[in-house]
Amino acid sequence: MAKGLLRGLAYLESGAIALCGAVALLLACYMVVARYVAPDLRTDWALDVIVMVIVWGVMIAGGRTARHQAHIRVDLFLNAAPDGLRRVMIGVCLAVIVATAGLLCWSGILVVEEAIRWDERSSSTWRIPLWIYYLSLPVGMASIALQAIFGVLSGQSSGHEHLWDAAQE
């Protein structure tokens, strides 16, 4: 049951990332075409949307990448360390990830609250509410922190199989 739910979530996540990338790509091309085909058409909003969807895609991907432990890092010393030391190193890593991503998530929530309170909007034609863009940070960081917590709970630091990886197979 839990595995099925996680698998469904993983599919949803990868679909959302692909959708964000595709929307951004099509909008960027639309901007160029519209500028030369219909110069009177306002396309400034497209840049806002491109930034928004790419950053959302990046933040969603951040959690997914954390799950696969594929974020860029120096694993040279980690791989060379003896088993006992490696467990300690992984434990410290996970604690730093939870603390940092957790703090950035909290910071992001404060930014979203401010943006809603002051009704902050982008300066383009569409005047998109900025909290939609800002929300990507707490969501992404929460996802990264949760992956690290799952890592601890599923015994990643002791070298056991990762719950999420098992769900993916």
């Binding site: 790509l25 790419i54 950053v55 940092t100």
Partner: protein, 436 residues
């Protein structure tokens, strides 16, 4: 302030050694330093979000998409066949054709790893089957593939331009002459070896696959691939599109050409390729966000001014600073990958560049050439592992094959470091002198 910076750097390297993801290590150090300075918690997130809201940064996912679409093959083969027409009939001609095709491929994508994968998958089996020794083939292909980040478009140059606030079109132009020099250097080493070590370079004069097609036919077949750099770079320098739009156009062109002309991928593969692009971009963009947070501390804390004062007090000449940076970057390249090197070192070196009157464009190319070396130096040289993976060869064999080319590249780096007009001549000619 210097004490805080030293402690921060020590903390950063401590976290990196522990294996903490680089974006988390940078963010953790920046957060601690900024909170000590009295920054608010909300300010941290706001700063990251404000800096990620950059149209130039959005060029990165599009260039990565273009590289992903091209990686499947087809384009690399068409370019190789075309280059083989020109060089395939001379001794050592096929390796030289590989270098020429790699330089062309580098002009349509900005990633060294994608170039290594695409060119290596196609060229390595062919050259080995023609009798060239495997270490030599792996070394030359791996080295030539580093052109992917020097010849425009270049992903690390976009990141450098963003963080150093330098014009990306100017940086792209600055990479052209050093890139061509590097391609000629690799070809020169091949020719020298062809003459001195007959056994390593067989008398291959068939011209490879190109003999099966007419010259006109091969050229027509390569035209769609060759048109990509013209559209992208022509669009940028013709003032028709921005960097981000050019990147998106190159992705769309690469997709269309790969799907419908060279059949290097299927339509069903596209969503997965787009997802992979955003995911690999994500890792880089998160590092950019964290590095900009650290840059914010450097700017706020007055460290930049302290660093400049220290350098002025030491009376360090520009050439010595560049030499020190080259050695540092080569050493860092052994434990960090390119984006991390850029994002960790550039915020600290920028104020010093201004004080020593070193052009940011010149330094950017020096940095990129160091990243190229990092891709070829163990223990984490990415291109070494890509080539080893393609040929299912031990990494040691790739390192052995890379060594002669590596020595040549270090000589070229020295030339570019100490004679800046090689870098600045073309952008100054096309765009006028830089106002830095």
């Amino acid at each position: 302030m210097i004490t805080q910076a030293i402690l921060g750097l020590a903390g950063l390297f401590g976290l990196l050694i522990l294996g903490v993801p680089i974006f988390i290590a940078l963010a953790a150090v920046a957060i601690v330093l900024l909170l000590i300075e009295g920054n608010s918690i909300a300010g941290l997130g706001q700063h990251i979000l404000d800096h990620l809201n950059s149209p130039t940064l959005m060029a990165i996912p599009f260039f990565v998409m273009a590289a992903m679409f091209m990686k499947g093959g087809g384009i690399a083969q068409a370019l190789f066949d075309w280059a083989a027409l020109a060089f395939g009939r001379i001794r050592g001609g096929l390796p030289i054709a590989t270098v020429a095709a790699t330089a062309l491929f580098a002009a349509i994508n900005g990633s060294s790893v994608a170039t290594a994968l695409a060119m290596g998958t196609m060229a390595v089996p062919l050259l080995v089957s023609k009798g060239y020794r495997r270490p030599f083939v792996l070394g030359l292909t791996g080295t030539a593939a580093t052109l992917g980040i020097l010849i425009p478009p270049s992903l690390p140059l976009v990141v450098y331009g963003l963080i150093s606030e330098t014009s990306v079109p100017r940086l792209f132009l600055a990479g052209v002459v050093p890139g061509l020099l590097q391609a000629m250097l690799i070809a020169g080493i091949i020719i020298v070896r062809a003459r001195s070590q007959q056994s390593e370079t067989p008398d291959e004069t068939s011209g490879g696959e190109s003999n099966t097609r007419s010259i006109a036919g091969t050229t027509v077949w390569a035209l769609p691939a060759l048109s990509v750099p013209f559209v992208v770079l022509g669009g940028i320098y013709g003032g028709l599109v921005t960097i981000t739009e050019a990147a998106a156009l190159s992705a769309i062109l690469a997709l269309l050409v790969t799907l419908f002309i060279y059949k290097g991928a299927r339509i069903l593969d596209v969503p997965s390729l787009v997802r992979q692009s955003v995911e690999s971009t994500g890792s880089v963009i998160l590092i950019v966000g964290s590095a900009l947070l650290l840059s914010h501390w450097i700017a706020r804390s007055g460290l930049a001014a302290d660093l400049v004062a220290a350098v002025v007090e030491l009376g360090l000449p520009a050439w010595l600073f560049l030499l020190i940076m080259n050695v540092t970057l080569i050493l860092l390249g052994m434990i960090l990958e390119g984006y991390s090197i850029t994002l960790i070192t550039v915020p600290l070196t920028l104020p010093i560049l201004a004080a020593l009157e070193i052009s940011r464009v010149h330094y950017g190319i020096v940095l990129i050439m160091n990243i190229e070396l990092a891709m070829l130096t163990p223990p984490i040289g990415l291109n070494l592992f890509v080539m080893a993976g393609i040929a299912k060869a031990p990494v040691g064999e790739v390192i052995r094959g890379t060594l002669p080319f590596l020595i040549g590249m270090i000589a070229l780096l020295a030339l570019v470091t100490f004679y800046s007009p090689i870098v600045t001549f073309l952008p100054d000619l096309v765009l006028g002198p830089a106002s830095e």
